[in-house]
């Protein structure tokens, strides 16, 4: 089946009751259903081990689902895996370029594997590299690239196929802030210029907030909540009151009708309240009555962090160690040669 035969009106991705069980009985993905519209940037947000990568692998036909249905542009991934793969580009979490080859060669190999005609190849490779700002380094060996350049090269590599849908697994993991920004800009440009559907997984709230039209919050293999970042934040309701204590002392139980403690980090305490402006002075006088001095107070709208907390009763930061491990792998990879 050629790409042109794919249904032009179908959603980019339809997933129904998708489940993946690893032996003996680990439910990595547990009865997940969602759909992604064409041209949408869809994010899966969750800590490591929430089932995000497994979901991507099932959609990209790399891993067969235990049960459930996956359709990409209306094509069943189980019965037509090669037709599905011909429409997509996938940037895995770990480094997926061959560092022993030049950037041009990496793209050349993949343009052949995507069956790009020999007449179009050279032009597509040059334009993909130029699009990702790598034209001047095309003939350098990839092992001389920085982590951010490698990430952009990985995206360039998928562009030779002119993918209708792009899967980015933790696109900015292990990148410094400047590289991260440039990767984010590329993603936005792809959506803007080519109306490419983009599927992102991330454990980074800021990234999900910045890039995604809609977000599915994943926890323990299930979709805990799904919606646009704004809708999700609104669903938390109320305000976040952040109080900095003068001393890092024990906090007395704050009356539930006043506010809910959502996070505590040293002397900084975050609370969720129906109305922050009213709750803040109440909390301060309550703490004062218990002999606890406050240094500063601020009131803000809830962020995705609070959304995550509301739906999963967990903090995303718990996965930070795993993220660091990944980051060191990327730099190890870069210096291994």
């Amino acid at each position: 089946m050629a790409a042109s035969e794919l249904h032009s009106s179908a959603p980019a991705i339809e997933v129904e009751h998708l489940t993946k069980v690893y032996p003996p009985s680990i439910r990595a993905v547990d009865d997940v259903s969602f759909s992604v519209d064409q041209g949408e940037v869809f994010g899966m947000l969750g800590p490591n081990g929430a089932g995000k990568t497994t979901t991507i692998k099932m959609i990209t036909t790399l891993s067969p689902p235990t049960s459930g249905l996956v359709k990409v542009f209306g094509v069943d991934a189980r019965t037509h895996p090669e037709a599905v793969r011909s429409t997509l580009g996938y940037v895995p979490q770990s480094v997926s370029v061959d560092s022993d080859l030049s950037a041009y060669e990496n793209l050349l190999v993949f343009s052949k594997l995507f069956f790009v005609g020999s007449k179009d190849r050279s032009e597509r490779i040059r334009s993909s590299l130029a699009y990702m700002g790598l034209a001047d380094r095309a003939d350098d060996l990839v092992k001389t690239y920085s982590g951010g350049m490698m990430r952009r090269l990985e995206i360039a590599q998928t562009l030779v196929n002119r993918p209708r849908i792009l899967f980015l697994d933790e696109p900015s993991i292990g990148l410094d802030p400047a590289s991260r920004l440039s990767v984010h800009e590329s993603i936005k440009r792809l959506k803007h210029d080519y109306d490419t559907t983009i599927f992102i997984t991330t454990h980074d709230m800021g990234e999900a907030d910045d890039l995604c039209d809609r977000i599915a919050i994943m926890d323990a293999g299930r979709v805990a909540a799904l919606g646009s970042p704004d809708d999700l934040k609104k669903s938390v309701g109320g305000d976040v009151v952040t109080i900095k204590l003068a001393r890092g002392e024990e906090l007395p139980a704050i009356p539930k009708q006043m506010a809910l403690v959502s996070n505590r980090n040293g002397s900084t305490v975050e609370l969720l309240a129906e109305n922050g402006d009213e709750a803040a002075p109440q909390i301060i006088s309550f703490l004062d009555s218990k002999g606890i001095a406050t240094e500063s107070v601020s009131i803000s709208r809830p962020g995705l962090d609070d959304v995550f907390l509301k739906y999963t009763k967990k903090h995303l930061e718990d996965s930070e160690d795993a993220a660091r491990a990944n980051q060191s792998r990327r730099s190890f990879m870069r210096h291994a040669n």
Binding site: L62, R85, V109, F114, L141
Partner: protein, 256 residues
């Protein structure tokens, strides 16, 4: 269409390997050290003490095809580690996410081992000529040798990739690779005739594909008697096809 796509993607995966070697050919030279030692020390010593009867050929002539086959075996048997390494990196995941048929990714990797094996064989060949070892140098014989070398590499690299699908980690693959090379090498006719072996080892050698590779290489390089070639090609060919099929069914387990 599908057949053409499979062949074209296999060649592309092999091309990747050829390009790697071109950028950094160091490994070709370091890997030459071991076969050189076999020929220069083991071969020369056993030739001069005439411990093993290999008439009508000198012992050095006798083991040259064996050392050729062995060095290619050593390159290929660790190919599963390369695949596991590429899995750890994400490269294998990316290869498998292209529309290229899965079989062609495995076949391409085994062809890639063939590329390395071939370059290895050329260097050993040159070394043998420098040492003055008398070999048949008819172009057709040389073509036959190179063909067998590529099949040899495909055979053992696909066995290695099949095992990688089960074992999944570099450490385990390193262990199994080391555990397998010596039995395959010593349990073959590479450095002594099968008739000199104890009976139990003879039966092992008879089911060892490496024995058939060496037998075929000897026919091309020494005797010019092609009567065993159909059997040699059939055994190594069937073994390779079975391993390739198994490996392409198993390789997905690496990225799941």
């Amino acid at each position: 269409m599908r057949v053409w796509r499979s062949i074209s993607s296999s060649l592309t995966v092999a091309e990747m390997e050829a390009r790697r070697v071109r950028h950094d050919p160091t490994e070709l030279f370091t890997r030459l050290i071991q076969p050189a030692l076999w020929l220069l020390i083991f071969g020369e010593v056993f030739t001069s003490i005439r411990a093993i009867d290999t008439a009508p050929y000198t012992y050095l002539q006798f083991i040259t095809p064996g050392i050729l086959a062995q060095s290619v075996l050593f390159v290929s048997i660790f190919y599963g580690i390369t695949v596991v390494w590429e899995r750890d990196m994400g490269l294998l995941t990316k290869l498998l996410s292209t529309p290229a048929p899965r079989f062609s990714v495995v076949a391409g990797k085994s062809l890639a081992a063939g590329v390395r094996g071939l370059l290895q064989a050329v260097m050993i060949f040159v070394l043998a000529l420098v040492l003055g070892i008398k070999l048949r140098l008819d172009p057709l014989d040389i073509a036959g040798v190179f063909f067998l070398i590529v099949i040899n590499a495909m055979c053992f690299s696909s066995l290695s990739m099949l095992l990688a699908g089960f074992l999944k980690t570099r450490d385990r693959m390193l262990g199994i690779g080391q555990a397998m090379t010596m039995p395959l090498f010593f349990g073959s006719n590479a450095i002594y005739p099968i008739s000199l072996m104890p009976t139990w080892l003879q039966s092992l050698a008879a089911i060892n594909p490496l024995s058939y590779v060496v037998q075929g290489l000897r026919a091309f390089l020494l005797s010019g008697d092609y009567s065993t070639i159909p059997l040699d090609l059939a055994v190594v060919g069937v073994f390779t096809v079975v391993m390739l099929t198994g490996a392409s069914l198993m390789i997905r387990r690496l990225v799941e």
